[in-house]
């Protein structure tokens, strides 16, 4: 009994002891082939199984999880015990079954979780990298398939398959490094050869960079650099929980222009992506959410708990990793806008990635980070590498006026984002 029978059993047993019970079930299999020093160094296969139980009694939410099917009774008891300590809150019930009108696909029926396939992808990564004079130091390929299910005592029961194909490669030439990656639910969307070639190209072309003087420059953030900074600062500020707790810079700004009118930010759970889904991690139907429309702040994201507590509605924004409590998050977040002017046409400092984005201050938006693979860009071309520098600024301020969005939109984790030009930014040279 390790599948749907067990879940049904937990719901029935739990219902006798609590008002409501929810089970989030995940099982998955993944393989990876890892590169060590330019060849396939190790191969890994994982199987994972977990259930997470939430109980609600008199507005008190209890939680526990286990990866051991034999301990489900202990897990249910632990959830109930935890509920007895939680502060009671307004609670309007777990979602009832809904007619899900939209569909979302994040599963590729043709993806096979096979170590031989992953090894083949590694071969392609390496031949791509071989187009440039570099040493490959790491990287690999990963193929995974999982099944997720949410079920509750109101009769909701949704299940879905997910697949992931992912590759990465890290190359070095002298003291210049290059890292590239890609991930998609669909195997056919991943081109390991091109990822390997791009990582190697970054390392090879960054050799012999010139120094840059401290001062103000126009910069172009690549989608990777933009996603790092925006992911650390903007996403937490859109969470309803942070808004209500006084931890969001954007609180009280609904209806106000917060960003450049050429910028919109929205979550589209139905677009193809790694986390596309028609129901969220609590079984609430998802919908397209526009957070920032042409620079104007529209709304925040909520899950059930935060929604009930503050008199807001869940926006279907609950996400969770296996064995964890649900929290407020995003499914497929897009940073988008009209492409009026190519960001790299006029001379600027192009920044591929940043080191230390996680040290940015998520409340104020202030950051100062080391930059990776910076180049002078001119007429859209990377013309000359820059040795190294720091980039300091404030994410909220810099998005107020942008100098253009690129046509190079790409998926970086849960974000889909183009390159962004920012004029008059502070670069600290060495």
């Amino acid at each position: 009994m390790i599948g749907e029978d067990l879940i049904d059993r937990i719901l029935r047993d739990g219902e006798k002891l609590a008002d409501e019970v929810e089970v989030f079930y995940a099982r998955g299999q993944s393989v990876s082939a890892d590169i060590k020093k330019g060849i396939l160094g190790s191969a890994e296969e994982s199987e994972a199984w977990s259930i997470a139980i939430r109980t609600i009694k008199d507005g008190r939410i209890g939680f526990s999880s286990t990866s051991d099917p034999d301990r489900w009774r202990e897990c249910l008891q632990a959830a109930l015990a935890s509920g007895r300590l939680a502060t009671p809150q307004q609670w309007g019930g777990l979602p009832k079954p809904a007619d899900l009108v939209s569909t979302a696909s994040s599963s590729d029926p043709n993806l096979v979780v096979s170590v031989e396939d992953a090894a083949g992808m590694v071969d392609d990564l390496l031949s791509g990298a071989a187009e440039h004079p570099v040493e490959v130091v790491g990287g690999g390929a990963n193929l995974a398939r999982s099944y997720l299910m949410v079920a509750n005592t109101s009769g909701t029961l949704y299940g879905m398959d997910r697949t992931v194909a992912a590759v990465s490669l890290e190359a070095i030439r002298e003291q210049s490094t290059g890292y590239e990656f890609d991930a998609s639910p669909f195997r056919a969307e991943i081109d390991p050869g091109s990822v390997g070639e791009q990582a190697a190209s970054l390392a090879a072309r960054s050799v012999g960079g010139s120094d840059i003087k401290t001062g103000r420059y126009d910069v172009v953030l690549s989608p990777v650099a933009a996603a790092s900074l925006i992911g650390q600062v903007l996403l937490p500020a859109l969470s309803g929980r942070n808004v209500k707790a006084g931890r969001s810079f954007l609180a009280d700004k609904i209806g106000e222009p917060v960003f450049d009118e050429h910028l919109s930010v929205y979550d589209d759970p139905f677009a193809p992506g790694l986390s596309s889904t028609a129901w969220d991690a609590e079984g609430t139907p998802t919908r397209r959410l526009v957070f920032v429309d042409q620079g104007v702040l529209q709304q925040f994201a909520y899950d059930l708990k935060t929604g009930y507590r503050y008199g807001e509605k869940s926006t279907g924004s609950a996400v969770r990793s296996e064995g964890d409590l649900p929290g407020i998050g995003f499914h497929n977040l897009f940073v988008d806008g009209p492409r009026t002017k190519e960001p790299g046409d006029e001379r600027a400092v192009w920044i591929h990635d940043v080191v230390g984005a996680h040290t940015a201050n998520p409340f104020s938006g202030d950051f100062s980070v080391e930059i990776s693979n910076p180049f002078w860009i001119e007429g859209g071309d990377l013309v000359e590498p820059i040795r190294t520098a720091m980039f300091a600024g404030n994410v909220f301020e810099m998005l107020r006026e942008i100098g253009g969005l690129g046509k190079d939109t790409r998926r970086v984790g849960r974000l889909t984002i183009p390159s962004i030009r920012l004029n008059n930014q502070q670069i600290i040279g060495k």
């Binding site: 300590l85 707790a245 409590l325 040290t359 104020s364 990776s372 600024g393 502070q426 600290i428």
Partner: protein, 442 residues
């Protein structure tokens, strides 16, 4: 099983208790359970790793089947891997002062709430505290007949305060984690400190970016040690050609008197009684008197690279062991704090850490201080905020001008290869010349 040169299995079964209090509301307080096993097989060439939930380690039949599956994975690898011999044995785990299992969840929640409440000083708009307790039962056995089991208990908390005024928002945070028993009693002072720092940062200045003299406090100097030296000395990165410290054993890379150590035997937060591949743990001096002397190794990287000892393999439960730091620090020098501040004359004092990151191949690192003070004419003056420091591994250590005599260790978690493990790092106060400070002030 002709294609199996070596195998081991490491099972970690345990419980994690988390209490989360946000603005006085107990958001969650509960215990979850896990039971993970990793089987490693060294085939004719490289490794095959298998991760499973809930393995009966005592069932010979189950173990054989898993080894066979992992051998099938190892067969696709091309890397020629050898394992160095290494001394075996496990240290005793330090005794627990107060066993957190003897304290009920209600009392833990009440004590954490006291710390969280203490952070709510005037000016603070949000407080949050989190208690984390991990009980791990580890069992290890390998094909050479070695077998170990031990239990590790970790208990600690973090507290964050956010202060806000006229659209300016600042935070203060404190944390304390130990391996020696229950760690929530008498800690309200740390909550209050987080609150007070958040409020005073509202009036702090933005520092001017550029090259300055900098004094690092023991916590930040510890992160500096970890980011600037620790990662780049990890044997796997050396072997892969991904570190600027490769091929530099015997070279002077730092000032005279500089000693940098990784020591998993210390009863700090990165302690382990035996490493994740069953090797006895010992102290490694990475840098002695400014000269690079050793790398950190596991059996595989020791065989491939040399210079150092094995015993630095660590793993998160359910993940294969990799080379990691444990308790990493700079040994005391002889300068006093007052001497360091006065010698700095004009510069910046950087305090606490908001994390850091390193690109060991390029040899650059970045990390962020929680806050700082300007030093003017040898005196500590105005408070500054949102200040970071970056540098190059190969030059920065030469720029250490003074080493203090007041080393202190700080607990934390370190991420590498998707795995997070408990570590501590520390140092005495340091005076750095030519530090590249990132700040937004003009």
């Amino acid at each position: 099983m002709v294609d199996v040169r070596y195998y081991d299995i490491r099972c970690v079964r345990g419980e994690t208790t988390v209490i989360d209090i946000d603005n006085g509301v107990v958001e969650s307080a509960g215990t979850s359970f896990f039971d993970k096993a990793v089987i490693r097989v060294l085939g004719p060439k490289g490794w095959g790793f298998l991760t499973r939930d809930h393995v009966e380690i005592d069932s010979k039949r189950e173990l054989n089947a898993l080894v066979e599956e992992a051998a099938r994975l190892a067969a696709v690898t091309a890397d020629e891997i050898d394992l160095a011999d290494a001394p075996r044995g496990a240290l005793p785990v330090p005794p627990l002062g107060e066993d957190p299992r003897d304290i009920d969840l209600e009392e833990k929640t009440r004590l954490l709430a006291g710390i969280e409440d203490a952070a709510r000083v005037p000016g603070v708009v949000n407080t949050r505290a989190r208690y984390t307790e991990g009980i791990d039962s580890v069992r290890f056995l390998d094909s050479s007949g070695n077998e170990y089991s031990y239990e590790s208990v970790r208990s600690g908390f973090s507290v964050i305060a956010v202060a806000s005024r006229n659209g300016v928002m600042q935070m203060g945070s404190e944390r304390d984690h130990v391996i020696t028993g229950f760690n929530l009693r008498g800690k309200q002072d740390l909550g209050r400190k987080a609150g007070e720092i958040a409020v005073s940062l509202l009036d702090a200045k933005l520092p001017k970016g550029g090259t300055h003299r900098a004094v690092l406090d023991p916590e930040l100097a510890g992160v500096f040690t970890h980011e600037a030296v620790g990662h780049a000395s990890e044997g796997d990165l050396i072997r892969e050609g991904a570190s600027v410290l490769g091929g530099r054993i015997g070279e002077r890379i730092g000032c005279e008197g500089l000693v940098i150590v990784d020591d998993p035997t210390l009863h700090e937060f990165g302690f382990m009684p035996v490493d994740a591949e069953g090797v006895a743990v010992r102290r490694t001096e990475i840098i002695r008197d400014g000269i690079l002397t050793s790398y950190l190794h596991n059996r595989e990287t020791l065989a491939a690279v040399g210079n150092g000892i094995a015993g630095h393999a660590r793993a998160e439960h359910g993940a294969p062991p990799i080379v990691r730091m444990s308790n990493t620090f700079i040994e005391n020098g002889d300068a006093t704090y007052d001497e360091i501040i006065s010698e700095c004359m004009d510069g910046i004092l950087l305090i606490g850490s908001r994390g850091g990151q390193v690109d060991p191949g390029r040899g650059v690192f970045q990390f962020n201080a929680e806050y700082g003070y300007l030093i003017e004419g040898g005196e500590k003056t105005d408070m500054v905020r949102d200040v970071s420091l970056s540098g190059e591994i190969l030059s920065t250590l030469h720029n250490i001008a003074l080493i203090g005599n007041d080393r202190r260790m700080s607990p934390g978690y370190c991420g590498k290869g998707g795995q997070s493990v408990p570590v501590s790092d520390g140092a005495p106060h340091l005076l750095l010349e030519n530090a590249v400070i990132g700040g937004r002030g003009e």
